[in-house]
Amino acid sequence: MSSEPVVQARGLVKRYGTRTAVDGLDLEVAAGAVTAVLGPNGAGKTTTIETFEGYRRPDDGRVRVLGLDPVRDAAALRPRIGVMLQSGGVYSGARADEMLRHMAKLHAHPLDVDALIERLGLGSCGRTAYRRLSGGQQQRLALAMAVVGRPELVFLDEPTAGLDPQARRSTWDLLRELRTDGVSVVLTTHFMDEAEQLADDVAVIDAGRVIAQGSPEQLCRGGAENTLRFTGRPGLEIASLLKALPGGSEAAELATGTYRITGRIDPELLATVTSWCAQHGVMPEGIAVERHTLEDVFLELTGKELRA
């Protein structure tokens, strides 16, 4: 694999009439990784990914995908990428296996279609026409169509929207296998857990810009602080506890006998808290460390809930 980024966008702008969907977006996508483009509905995720796919001509800025201009070099780029649209893309009267076999025929070295059908559990679709398949089956077919041509890079627009938990995990497994085999994956999602579980790199998008990018761990560490909770005797001396804790920590009694410490929660701090409790004859119960999630980070960065 080359170490060149598979996608490079600089100052990407896309307007629809007077509305600016993407507003000076900068993004680099590493080869051989799973990259999640995360943001609320209307943040510009789909417009961004569709610009990478060559569907939208940027109003400003520069986009390169596998080193090519997605609009000008479309003919050279298309065989090398796999695309999963947010919905549709299949003849309403076509059967799942028929459509997948057709997509395979458009490529020089496609995957084994029967094995792919089995892998994604599409065998149960049988002779049913696409329009009568369940939403989950339609999603899995669209995913299969994106990978059947053995692309270097796949773009997936909300690949697990509408899937049940089991099908979601199965999709995640497939995406991990793609990464293992050297396929670069770019997906959009508004599921935090999807980005956390799956992505090597997360680009948080809001109002048409990337407002933060990094691994889930980096983003969580850089964002909100973590929390330690425990319960004990009511009316503990908070001031004394604070003195024992490292600078920058905060402590409070939330409800009677319920305590919260916020700050950098590490093993030393936990030991400090328990030994302080021991000195004061307190039995701390229900000790819980809450790691902050991408959800909290997102809320902090944008002031918005992700799932509106």
């Binding site: 893309g89 057709h102 458009l106 084994d112 892998r119």
Partner: protein
């Protein structure tokens, strides 16, 4: 699937294989669709059989089947190249099929070539079926096959352009309604089963300029009256073909 299954090995299939596969799929979709078959097979067949048996519309002197068969062949071309193609393509656009194929290795012109092939294959099946039925009803055609072929091809191009123009600019539901309405109006007013001379003179001169009239009257000139080359009809069809395809190429939206 084992490790290495998905190792990238991208590449487009040879163009000829892509077009053949796409044309085969398009043809299957067309022949599988019940409403399409009603339009392309059942209605032309019924009209041919019914009006040959009972001369309700007054087809003039001679055998009704000799008057009707050229008109029904024109109707068959219109039903597939215009009505059927407009409705199918309109819904493909609506459901993102055209969009998704646009990201595949298949170039857009190749998709259009495949659609045209699918239309031609369907028309061959229609013509075979309808001529067999016409012969069974006592049809005795005149004229040469070259002029007939030229008329059918030009008619196909003209109706395809108009059908794609409709499919690529209107909403799918509007296309569905409009394509069926146009089909019905042209069936009545286009010299298909009702002779054009049944209409008032003023109406006749306008109706005669319609692509369906040019096709049905041109086919009738050759097959019923033994004309060698119906230049007037060919000219009208050429104008419609240029206008229709030109407008479709200019205004067609893929999404």
């Amino acid at each position: 699937m084992s490790a290495g299954t998905y190792t990238p090995r991208p590449g487009a299939a040879p163009l000829s294989r892509m077009i053949a596969a796409q044309a085969a799929l398009e043809t299957r979709m067309l022949l599988r669709n019940g409403e399409q078959l009603l339009l392309t097979v059942v209605i032309p067949t019924l009209l041919l059989v019914l009006f040959s048996a009972v001369d309700i519309v007054g087809t003039g002197s001679g055998e009704p089947v000799d008057f009707l068969t050229p008109g029904i062949l024109a109707l068959a071309v219109m039903s597939t190249a215009f009505t059927g193609q407009a409705i199918a393509t309109g819904f493909e656009r609506r459901y993102g099929v055209l969009k998704r194929l646009g990201a595949s290795p298949l170039p857009r012109w190749a998709l259009m070539a495949a659609k045209t092939l699918a239309v031609l294959v369907t028309e061959v099946l229609q013509v075979v079926l309808l001529t067999v039925i016409a012969f069974a009803l006592g049809w005795s055609p005149e004229g040469g096959p070259l002029a007939v072929l030229l008329l059918l091809v030009l008619g196909t191009v003209a109706f395809s352009g108009l059908g794609l123009l409709m499919a690529g600019t209107l909403k799918a539901e509007a296309t569905l309604a409009a394509a069926n309405l146009v089909f019905l109006l042209l069936l009545v007013g286009g010299g298909v089963v009702v002779p054009l001379d049944r209409f008032p003179d003023a109406a006749q001169s306008v109706l005669g300029l319609l692509p369906i009239s040019a096709l049905s009257e041109g086919l009738r000139d050759v097959l019923q009256h033994g004309a060698t080359m119906p230049w007037g009809s060919l000219g009208i069809l050429t104008v419609w073909a240029v206008l229709g395809l030109g407008a479709a190429a200019r205004f067609f939206r893929w999404e």
